[in-house]
């Protein structure tokens, strides 16, 4: 099983995501610099990490979304590779058009950094298969621009197609319909603001995130 984590200048959760990938897959992911134009052949799983790529210049994720490696990520996603974008990674995925909508400044104007309760809306996806639909889980968030926005037609389509994977159980940033994470139409790309890689071992204080990575690996094994 081949995995990779994309590294932009200003990424700061890349190594955490790599640890989570390695724990789940049993092998170290390739760390891919943003200027690279190729990913390892037949890549199965790609992580787009959190952080402040390019210092959040212009818009969060805007510059990273146009970096050379993102074309390779888009091609891999089209081919069916799993892509997980966390926090700044979610912003990069919306800016690059791999996911619909945009992430605006938090409605309250404040950076929000705490554990939040999330409701698993869709437990059918590879990312969420180890959770129960309707289950409440807790992941930490740490973001300033996590206020999910899309027009009503897009929101209705996301809801209708079961593409809202995770919802905040309380309003923390003004996100439309409390959306915390969404899937692409193929179900192989997930963008989410909360950080599953920060709750994968007991030393973190909680392990709710571990099931996301384990479920992904299970999904990949089933496909192989």
């Amino acid at each position: 099983m081949k995995s990779a984590v994309i590294v932009f200048p200003g990424s700061n959760c890349d190594r955490d995501l790599a640890v989570a990938f390695e724990a789940a897959t049993g092998s170290k992911p390739a760390m891919i610099w943003h200027r690279d134009t190729d990913l390892p052949a037949d890549i199965d799983l790609i992580g787009v990490p959190g952080g402040f790529s390019y210092g959040d210049y212009l818009r969060s994720g805007a510059m990273a979304a146009r970096s050379p490696v993102m074309q390779a990520v888009a091609q891999a996603a089209t081919r069916g590779a799993f892509v997980l974008g966390v926090c700044n990674g979610f912003q990069v995925l919306t800016e690059s058009g791999l996911l619909p909508g945009a992430l605006l400044r938090n409605a309250g104007g404040h950076f929000v950094c705490r554990d939040v309760p999330l409701t698993v809306e869709n437990a059918q996806s590879a990312f969420t298969s180890r959770y129960d639909a309707g289950e409440t889980i807790h992941f930490p968030v740490a973001h300033h621009d996590g206020n999910y926005f899309a027009d009503d037609a897009t929101l209705d389509r996301l809801e209708g197609e079961g593409r809202v994977a995770l919802r905040y159980a309380e309003n923390i940033n003004g996100s439309a319909r409390n959306i915390a994470g969404i899937l692409n139409d193929g179900g192989n790309v997930l963008g989410m603001m909360p950080h599953p890689e920060r709750v994968i071992e007991p030393a973190h204080g909680a392990t709710d995130g571990k099931r996301l990575f384990d479920g992904l690996v299970e999904g990949l094994m089933a496909r192989a």
């Binding site: 212009l58 805007a62 146009r66 945009a102 605006l104 400044r105 938090n106 104007g109 206020n147 926005f149």
Partner: protein, 77 residues
């Protein structure tokens, strides 16, 4: 040739920065401010033969996120 690109949030898109500016203006005692919306001004210094289509493409592909923002191009001689 220079071009100025004005990027503004679409109507209906929340602007916490504009709100904070509004509150600050009120704090300074300025009454009568109904609303504040903050945007961006991007100045481009361009080769004289840059086409309008190219400038527009720059806006669409990078300078503005048309999901949430509008842009206006003003060419300066």
């Amino acid at each position: 040739m220079k071009a100025r690109i004005f990027v503004t949030l679409k109507g209906g898109v929340l602007d916490p920065q504009g709100k904070a500016i509004h509150h600050a203006l009120e704090g300074l005692g300025f009454g009568g401010v109904n609303d504040v919306r903050a945007g961006k001004l991007i100045e481009l210094d361009l080769a004289d033969d840059t086409s309008d289509e190219d400038i527009d493409a720059m806006c669409r592909k990078l300078l503005a996120n048309t999901v949430i923002e509008n842009y206006r191009i003003e060419k300066v001689a």
